[in-house]
C-alpha cells in the first residue's frame, strides 16, 4: 500500500521523474539498463521484488536476466522457469499488455506459479508486463508484492508498461550499436579505401586503408589540400580538374561507377591506379555527404598494359610475315608466266593470309577492353568530325570501294570518341568485306532527340536464318562458306556493346544477295 503521506500528484510526479531519468540515459548497455529499470520499478511502485526475464530461444521457458530484491538491495540472475510447468502464464504473457494479478495465488494466469515460487518468496500480488522486441516477445518485466494482497491501479499498470517499453528501447539501441560495430569491422577489414566527404569535399570519416592513403599523400583531408598533394588522372592519363573528381561529381548528384583513376602522389612521385566508385548521400533532396570507395588496381593496370603491349608486339610480328605471304601471292597471280594450275593455289594463299590478318585484328580488339571492362570516357563531340575520320580511314584502307557520306552540318553526341569510331569503322569494314567493289553509304539522320548513323552496302547480305544471332559473341554468319573472311566473330558484338554503353541501340536490315544496312542510334547532346 502506498504511504498515506504522499499525494497522488506527487506520486505521479515522482514516476515521471523516474521515466525521464531512465529515458535520457544511454541504454545501449543492456544489463546496466535492466538493473536501472528493476531498481527504479521497485522504488517507484513500492514492491519487494522486481525482475526481468528473457524468453528462451525455443520458447520453452524463461530465464532471469536481473532480479532486484529491495530488502537487501541485491541483484541476482539465472533462475529459470519452464513453460510446461505453467502454460497459463506463458499463454497470458503473449496475449496481454499487462498481467495485473491482484491475488497471484488464485489468478488463473499466475496460480500455476504457486509452489514453490510464490510461497517461497511470500508473494501475494504480481504485475507482469511483456517486453517486446522487433515484433517478437523478448521476455517479461515482473513486479512482485509481498505482504497483504494489493490492488494494482491503472496508473501503476501504465507506469509498468512504460518501463517495459524502455527495456525494448534498450534492446533496440544495443542492436543498432551492434550493427554499427559489425559495419565498422567490415569497413575496417576490407582492402578498399573508404572516405566519407562532407559537402565541402573534406574527408570526415575513413577506414585504415584510407588513413594509409592520406599518410602516403602526406595529408589531403580537405579538398584544397588534396589537389595540392595528389594529381588525379583519368584512364587515358588526362589531368582531372578539381571540379571533375569523382567526389565532386557525386556532390552534384552523380553516381560514379568503377572508373579508373591514376593518382600521382606529388610528395614522393609515386603513381598508383584505383578503380573509383562514388555516390551521394542524401537527406531528402539535399546532398550532405559523399561516399568514395577506391580499390587499388595498380597491379591489374600494369598487367593490362603488359597484355596490350604483348598483343601489339605479337600483332606486329605476325603481320609483317603475313604481308610478305599475301603480297607475293597477289603479285604472282598477276604475272603472265604463272601457270593456270598455280592460280587457284595463289588465290587460296591470299585468302588464308586475309583470314590470319582478320584474326590478329580481332585479338588486338579484344585486348583493348581494359581490365575486362568497357569503361567509357565520354564527352560532347561533333559526330560529323568522327564520320570524316572514318571516311579518311576507309579511303586508305579500301581503295576498291567508294564511301558515299551524307551528314548534316554538325551534330553533337556524348561519346568516347575512339571507341565509338571503332564501332562505326567495324560496320564500314564489314560492309567493305562482304560486298563487291562499289559504293558503301554512310548516312547520318537526326531527330530532336536522336541521331541515327546507317551504313549500307550492296553485298552478299545475311541469310535469314542467321539474322537473329548476328550480334552474338563469336558468331560468324558466313563461317565455313565461300564468303568466310575469317575473324573471331567479335566485331558486331563489340560495336553493339559500345553503342549500348553510349545509351544507344543497334539494329540492321538485310536481304541475302542484296546487301545489308546497319543502324546505330545515339542520343543527341549539346554542342561542345
Amino acid at each position: 500500500m502506498q504511504k498515506p503521506a504522499e499525494s497522488d500528484a506527487s506520486v505521479a510526479h515522482r514516476r515521471e521523474q523516474v521515466l525521464f531519468e531512465l529515458a535520457k540515459r544511454n541504454k545501449a548497455d543492456v544489463p546496466e539498463t535492466f538493473r536501472a529499470i528493476t531498481e527504479a520499478a521497485a522504488v517507484a511502485l513500492d514492491v519487494e521484488r522486481t525482475s526481468i526475464w528473457r524468453l528462451l530461444p525455443d520458447s520453452n521457458g524463461i530465464v532471469c536476466e536481473d532480479d532486484f530484491a529491495r530488502a537487501d538491495g541485491r541483484h541476482t540472475a539465472g533462475d529459470t522457469l519452464a513453460a510446461r510447468d505453467c502454460p497459463g502464464y506463458f499463454s497470458a504473457i503473449t496475449r496481454s499488455r499487462v498481467i495485473a494479478a491482484h491475488d497471484a495465488r488464485s489468478d488463473d494466469r499466475t496460480r500455476e506459479l504457486n509452489t514453490p515460487y510464490l510461497e517461497g518468496h511470500g508473494i501475494t500480488s504480481m504485475m507482469d508486463v511483456p517486453i517486446w522486441h522487433k515484433g517478437c516477445l523478448y521476455g517479461v518485466l515482473c513486479h512482485e508484492h509481498v505482504g497483504p494482497a494489493r490492488r494494482w491501479t491503472s496508473d501503476e499498470e501504465t507506469f509498468a508498461g512504460n518501463l517495459a517499453d524502455l527495456a525494448s528501447l534498450a534492446l533496440e539501441e544495443n542492436e543498432g550499436r551492434n550493427a554499427e560495430r559489425r559495419w565498422d569491422a567490415v569497413v575496417n577489414t576490407i582492402q578498399e579505401v573508404v572516405f566519407v566527404l562532407d559537402s565541402a569535399g573534406t574527408i570526415v570519416q575513413t577506414n585504415p586503408m584510407g588513413a594509409r592513403m592520406i599518410e602516403r599523400a602526406g595529408g589531403g583531408t580537405t579538398l584544397a589540400e588534396r589537389m595540392e598533394l595528389v594529381e588525379f588522372r583519368d584512364e587515358l592519363g588526362r589531368l582531372i580538374p578539381a571540379d571533375r573528381t569523382g567526389g565532386r561529381r557525386s556532390l552534384s548528384g552523380e553516381i560514379v561507377r568503377g572508373e579508373i583513376n591514376h593518382l600521382v602522389f606529388k610528395r614522393t612521385g609515386e603513381r598508383r591506379s584505383y578503380r573509383i566508385t562514388t555516390a551521394p548521400m542524401r537527406d531528402g533532396d539535399r546532398i550532405h555527404s559523399v561516399v568514395v570507395v577506391l580499390a587499388d588496381v595498380t597491379e591489374e593496370v600494369a598487367f593490362d598494359r603488359l597484355k596490350r603491349e604483348v598483343l601489339a608486339a605479337l600483332a606486329h610480328e605476325f603481320k609483317t610475315p603475313v604481308a610478305v605471304v599475301k603480297g607475293y601471292a597477289q603479285h604472282m597471280s598477276k604475272r603472265p608466266d604463272t601457270s593456270p594450275a598455280g592460280r587457284p593455289m595463289l588465290a587460296a594463299i591470299e585468302r588464308a593470309s586475309n583470314r590470319l590478318e582478320r584474326l590478329i585484328d580481332d585479338l588486338v580488339e579484344v585486348s583493348s577492353i581494359s581490365l575486362g571492362r568497357l569503361v567509357l570516357q565520354r564527352q560532347p563531340v561533333d559526330l560529323t568530325v568522327m564520320i570524316r575520320s572514318v571516311e579518311r580511314w576507309a579511303a586508305q584502307a579500301a581503295t576498291r570501294h567508294r564511301l558515299v557520306v551524307n551528314t548534316p552540318e554538325a551534330v553533337a553526341v556524348s561519346a568516347d570518341l575512339p571507341r565509338l569510331e571503332l564501332a562505326v569503322r567495324r560496320l564500314v569494314d564489314n560492309a567493305i568485306r562482304y560486298s563487291p567493289p562499289g559504293d558503301v553509304e554512310i548516312n547520318v539522320a537526326t531527330s530532336d532527340k536522336d541521331v541515327v548513323i546507317s551504313v549500307r552496302d550492296r553485298g552478299i547480305g545475311i541469310p535469314e536464318d542467321q539474322q537473329s544471332r548476328i550480334f552474338e559473341l563469336f558468331f560468324r554468319a558466313h563461317a565455313g562458306t565461300s564468303h568466310d573472311v575469317g575473324g573471331l566473330g567479335i566485331g558486331l558484338f563489340m560495336a553493339r556493346e559500345i553503342t549500348i554503353r553510349h545509351g544507344g541501340a543497334m539494329w540492321f536490315e538485310s536481304e541475302e544477295g542484296r546487301g545489308s544496312t546497319f543502324y546505330m542510334r545515339l542520343p543527341r547532346a549539346e554542342m561542345p
Binding site: A313, H316, A323
Partner: protein, 123 residues
Amino acid sequence: MKRTGEILVVDDDPDLREFLQIMLTSMGFEVISAANGKEALDVLEGHDPDLILLDMKMPVMNGWEFSRALEARGAHPPIVVLTAAPDPAARAAEVHADGWLGKPFDYEDLEATVRKFAARPAR
C-alpha cells in the same frame, strides 16, 4: 617539284624489304632500302627520294626517332608509315606522316598510295 621516281623503304624485316623492292620495281620505281632509321639517315645523305615507306618498330632507331631526326634536318620527302598497329592513322599522325599502309596491305593499295607521292622516272 622534281620527281626522281625513287622510293626509300625502311623496314627491319629483310623479306618485306625484298618484297617491296620487287613490287615497287615492277611498278617502275627505283628502290633503295634501309634496315632501320639510322641506316635510312645515312642513305639519305646521297639520295633524295620521292617517298619514304617507313616501318615504325625497328631496332637501333625506330620510326618515331627517325622522323624526329628527319624533321630536325628541315625539308624532307613525304613519309608513308607501314604499320601493323590497330590504329595506323594515329601512328601516322604521331610522326606527321603523309599517309599510311596497314600491314598486311593489298597490292592495289600499295600501288595507289605510292603513286600519290612518287612518279615513274622518265626514261
